[in-house]
Homo-oligomer: 197 residues x 2
Amino acid sequence: MGRIQVENKASRKDVIIQKAASLFKEKGYQAASMRELAESVGVEAASLYNHIHSKTELLHIICFHVANTFTDHMDAVEASKVSAIEQVEQLLRFHIKRMVQDYEQVYVSDREWKHLAEPYLSNFQNQRRTYRKRFAAIIQAGIKAGSIKKIDAPTAVLIMLHAISGIESWHRSKAKINGKELEEQMISILIGGLKQS
Amino acid sequence: MGRIQVENKASRKDVIIQKAASLFKEKGYQAASMRELAESVGVEAASLYNHIHSKTELLHIICFHVANTFTDHMDAVEASKVSAIEQVEQLLRFHIKRMVQDYEQVYVSDREWKHLAEPYLSNFQNQRRTYRKRFAAIIQAGIKAGSIKKIDAPTAVLIMLHAISGIESWHRSKAKINGKELEEQMISILIGGLKQS
DNA sequence: CCTACCGATCGGTAGG
DNA sequence: CCTACCGATCGGTAGG
């Protein structure tokens, strides 16, 4: 009985988080109200607080879930023994896939993190900054190895990550090419932009 | 006397719009309050309404000012008789320059337009969609001419425009390269990504 | 999980 | 341009 209750609770919480990501993405964190969220979950607003502590907790669950996914992937890429340009391609493909498959949470993490409360805000910014530095270091290694053209590595990171966030518009568009094709197109343009010409 | 009054009013309104862009950029449209805006202008909240009609009016002034700037530039580019790839470069350089020099308004237009009220919302979306179609048509012409590699033109537009929005992160960063250098780096990567390899 | 409710804050108005 | 104020809505709590 206790077991079932726990399972139900966990599942209910997951639904709330998923619906919150969808709502935050659509309206923005501030404009999304807990009453709207409750309605989309199918309960009264007060009932949400049996599963979560606050609205801001929902945001930081989403943001850190996404951030940790990318940090973990970076660990794996750094441990792999392929060339720098191949590491960059692995990173880009992972970003693209996350954005294609799980874009609501990724989008919210990307665009709404400003609304995090301290100390989560500082932690998130630090984690993000560290991730970008590690990404830039890989690009720098590629430049040194001669497989990537001489560019400012932090600028390249910035371009890559923001370009990928454009997949949000792809989700909205009517006549969209399929996800796999999108990935290949983006890789072609972005990796093409890094290579020596 | 009447003349001076009109001039003062116009100038005051411009200050309000500029401060609003700054505040909307920093906190998001919904999270920015009219009381905060009033404070940054140096008046009481109620006094703002002698210059503007509503909070939403501030947002649509900003969004359409930016959108019209880009639409006007597109007219000029289409009228120029250079090659498609050079037209693309002109468009990218203009976007980069706007983002470097006037990024608060451009940023707000990019990220906060969702909060526009009808009929401005639909008008804005239409204008933006039309702009992107014209941009994609130029890329398509470049593909036909053989100067741009065979890619999905709408996807390429998406990548270019979002990559440029990353300049927001550049503004925040401490150890930033200068604006002109940033422009050249971005052009090198983005135009490099479009060309035949 | 719900009903009932609270204090705070919001955009905006009246009136001078 | 200000003081005074309004109705609406917000996130969240008490109590069952």
